[in-house]
């Protein structure tokens, strides 16, 4: 029996993507938990940016939204939102943002993401929040995607492309007029997936302690390469201690 919950392991895996000193745009939900964890443990010098216009926030507590006052603590600047749009462009020119973190409801093998609806857009079976800032983050920076691992969420074809990943493959983004950045990893409660450098298709990179590769395959709605998969490191004591206080 593990000493951590699957949500905690997700947050840990997410926090591991944030190296100390990196600059990251963080979306709402689990990314906020992972980023707050990294900032308070392994990556105190990470620069966290939010689509609400909060630049370099220092959350001591886990915020509920990207506009939460917890994020403004010791921030460098609180920009009006239109400047955030400009900053995406400015920082892409200068290659200043290392990663963006996104959540989603559905994903396809090329990392295209749906956070809008299940079913027909005009007559949805399930409606979600909508893009928020996700579309712009996916458009401009390399991303890490965080989501639940279920067959109906990992599907060959998604119902709505809220945020473009690698499009339809190797030259998918250039065909759409998008810069050559895109999804780097997908983190779920079962493991970490990455994208092949040549085909841009998703593959299993790590499975979490206590999870089997078969379990992951069973919960994935498309064929996924698992030949490169390794078992992930368990979370450290320090990190578990922080998580226990949340």
């Amino acid at each position: 029996m593990n000493k951590w919950t699957s949500t905690q392991m997700m947050a840990v895996a997410l926090a591991r993507q944030i190296k100390d000193g990196m600059t990251c745009i963080v979306g709402t939900g689990l990314p906020l938990l992972g980023a707050s964890l990294a900032k308070n443990t392994t990556a105190p010098h990470a620069v966290l940016i939010f689509e609400s216009g909060i630049i370099d926030g220092n959350p001591l507590e886990v915020p509920t939204s990207v506009g939460d006052l917890r994020l403004s603590r010791l921030a460098s600047v609180l920009w009006p939102q239109y400047r955030y749009l400009g900053f995406q462009n400015n920082s892409r020119k200068k290659n200043k943002i290392d990663l963006g973190f996104l959540g989603g409801a559905q994903i396809d093998p090329y990392g295209n993401l749906n956070s809008t609806c299940i079913g027909d857009y005009l007559h949805p079976q399930v409606r979600f929040t909508g893009s928020g800032g996700a579309n712009g983050i996916a458009g401009n920076v390399n991303t890490i995607i965080v989501m639940e691992h279920q067959k109906r969420r990992f599907c060959e074809k998604i119902d709505y492309i809220t945020s473009v990943g690698w499009g339809d493959g190797p030259d998918g983004r250039s065909k759409l007029g998008l810069p050559e950045v895109g999804p780097q990893a997908v983190i779920t409660e079962l493991g970490v997936m990455r994208f092949d450098q040549n085909t841009r298709r998703i593959y299993l990179a790590e499975y979490f302690p206590g999870v089997t590769v078969q379990q992951i395959t069973d919960n994935t709605g498309f064929k996924m390469d698992t030949s490169r998969a390794l078992e992930a490191e368990p979370p450290s004591e320090e990190v578990l201690e922080f998580l226990a206080k949340l």
């Binding site: 709402t28 939900g29 308070n40 689509e51 609400s52 216009g53 909060i54 001591l60 507590e61 886990v62 915020p63 509920t64 939204s65 990207v66 506009g67 939460d68 006052l69 917890r70 403004s72 603590r73 609180l78 009006p80 939102q81 239109y82 955030y84 749009l85 995406q88 809008t116 609806c117 857009y121 005009l122 007559h123 949805p124 079976q125 399930v126 409606r127 979600f128 929040t129 909508g130 893009s131 928020g132 800032g133 996700a134 579309n135 712009g136 458009g139 709505y160 492309i161 809220t162 945020s163 473009v164 499009g167 983004r173 759409l176 007029g177 998008l178 201690e241 922080f242 206080k245 949340l246």
Partner: protein
Amino acid sequence: MIKSEDKIMTMSEAISKFVHDGDCLALGGFVTNRRPYAAVREIIRQKIKDLYIEGGPAGGDVDMLIGAGCVKVLINSYTANSGYSQVCRRFRHAVEHGSILWEDYSLDVQAIMYHAAALGLPYVPVKNMLGSSLISQWGISRDIRVRDSKLPDHKLIIADNPFDPQDKVCLLPTPRIDTAIIHVQQACTDGTCRIAGNVFCDPDIAMGADNCIITCEELVSDDELRREPWLNQLPGLVPDAVVHVPFGAHPSQCAGFYDYDEPFFITYDQASKSDQTFKDFLFEWVYNLKNHAEYLSKLGEIGLNNLRITPGYDYVFGLRGVDCHE
């Protein structure tokens, strides 16, 4: 000369004067931060109908307007009480049952559209949304748009960049907003406003709208805000009404004053699950209360004091977990 005495109004007066059936409203704030809830409750109380709703990422305020039957069209980028209702439930119900019209843009694109409105630009070109369903899927068809004078004929237009024909751009229509409502920390009688914390899109929607209602935590003397004018966001020339409503953003948070009301958001999440429980909620928290003063006394002094920010922080310290290093 700004005649300041004309601007100070009760909420009931301001809403009656500047919000009418079929108007396009833009609301300020961000999800669970500084949303103009007191104004929203008065709009519901006055049973105003067929509204077109614009504004930044919305929360329970827009959800309440939808659930109370006030909304005809929602221009959406995000609607949630994040952390409490991951998708606002009345919004979700209305979209799934087709009882409102809606359109989706991304949040950053909406921000630039409101900035365009503030600057008086006829439209704005962006590189955002290309290749996504936000471009190809229209919530409101061309047919409906052409017949509706409140809406632009196109959600967007993809065009060649005239300066570089190899380059595709997305042209966005500038929103036409009848009335903006924003909640600020301080306003003075002439309408000068000071927002603490993030301003979000608020100065832009205030400037972009034909009319602007300011609701404020504190009504202060004109002198007080003029001592440090660099901290102010709007001159008195922009607002048309100023309404003094302490805790006017409740249950959302308001920098320098109070945090969000976590138990209230949980109650709202439960209440918004069904038509009947939501109706009961509206009677309890809106219709059965004559005005904001009655709302505050129902919340009670102790309840409100618990929401006040901890000195040295801009939120209630410890509400969302405590850092082990401090």
